[in-house]
Amino acid sequence: MIIPKENTLRTLTIGFIAVLVFGFVATDWLRFLVQMSLATFLVVLGVMLQMRAGLVSFGQGLFYCLGAYIAGMAGYFWGITDAFLLLFAGAAACVILSVILGFLLVRYREIFYANFSLALSMILYGLLVKAEILGSTDGFNVPHSTFLGFAPEGETLKISIFILTIVVVYLVAVALHRYLSSTYGYMGDAIRQNEIRVEYLGASVRSLIHKVYVIAAAISGIGGVLAAISLGHVDPEMAYWTTSGEFVFVALLSGTANVMAPLVGTFLLELLRTYAFEYAPYTWQMILGGTMLMVILFLPGGIWSIGAKRRTRN
């Protein structure tokens, strides 16, 4: 493989190879942790993308859950277990839904955007909770995945899913990085700073936000599919507003300057969650809340901005 010259891409590629190697030597639970954080990472990327345009989505769980349920249902009801097909189906469903909902959402900004996206994800939650055929609040188990006819079991299956997750996340991250360094990507920033100026410059803010929303939905859907495949289980909690709140938390904690920023945040969160359940079951939310307050007060650019400041100083 040729290592790219550009800074972010180079780090991403090296990290990608390192994690891949790490996956073969790591213990089961650690590999699973990496896998789940990477799935979450994709959803956070979706939140981050919107945040760059100044929009906070308190309902990204909608697409996370939709992707996961599509993957689950395809296997459960129609016997489709091919992971690539599931990824495609999950992303496609999210794109279709977000294109439709986008027409409504582009009219909202600030807290109204947050509210409306929250309401939409709660609608899905409300539907799933009462859908007995889908296991109501318990959700249901997702059948084992296959890969283009290759149907591994046991340890091989785990490794296969791991490799799939890494590759998919890498590809999405690279694609998104390309997007962010394109004209469209920078337009998002411009919208956040002053959308009326953007309009005077001749761009349509609405269609830009619509695009951002659809891309974010697709990425989150892929994250959902990966989570469903890794976890082997889906439940309505994925669309609940607290799940979406966690994504916002990570995006805020990490900062929005770079595609790699949320990686740090997601991994920290997953690690914290794993240990907190054991050592601080009653105070871990407090730790989250406290951290978030500190970040808002002292580090408006997120953790990523610490490094960025040093880099500009040099």
Binding site: L104, I111, M122
Partner: protein, 299 residues
Amino acid sequence: MTKLLAILIDGSIYASWVFLMGLGMTLIYGVMKILNIAHGSLYALGAYMSVSLIGFYYATGSYPPMLGYAMLPLAAVFIGLIAGLLIERGILRFMYGRDEVVMLLVTYSIFLILEDVAKLIWGVDPYFAYQPYGLLGTVEILDLIYPVYDFLLIAISLCCAVFVWWGLNKTRVGKLLIAVIHDREMSMAFGINVKLFFTVTFVIGAAFGALGGAITAPKVSVVPGIGVEVIVLAFAVVVIGGLGSIEGAMIGSVIVGIVRAAAVHILPEVELFVIYGVMALVLAFKPHGLFAGPEVRKI
């Protein structure tokens, strides 16, 4: 016929409950432009506090049982003062002037913190305070049996609505507050102590949230996480009515109450879905809610 009546009564009971929640939220938003996610935690704290006070009161056994009801508002005022003051003076004060979205995230962090505070103080076991619920007996309306306590809820809710309306429209302080709501900077220039108004409003709003929890506590088992669902319900109510509008919160809660009751009686499968469905529907046609004025775009 009976079904219709049941929908109406259940709807009003539910509406009066969500109205209390929405009232505090919309008041705080109207004055401070803060959409307070931590409102759900205040609800939970109010519920816990009232359960503790009621338990304590009836455990002594030597006082008249009817006076136990005084514990409910007492709990609300207590939580409103302590938690409200701590949140406003301790945290929010340093954040004023930030974007509304940032404030939303700030209150979200406060919500996370308070969730665990409740667990640290009261533990994770369920609490019950059934005494006030049964004390008033039941009433029969056309074959439908309702606890009188439920009607007490409606009365309390109406009283709060009248109190806020009277306070805002008929008193000097209320008129000053309306001035603050309309134009914060201009009111400051006229010598209104806006900071004090912020603190007082937050405390009153917090007390309404806590009252919502306090009067619900006797009906349910108080467990960790009871505030989580309430937040989105209160959101639905104030967003349907229009953020910052008290009439809006009233209409919103009646809509939500009746719609939910109708769903429960006619088509239970859609109970949860229908509330957010209505919210999305209203937002689709009136992006800022039924009773909110148009926003001015800033350049």
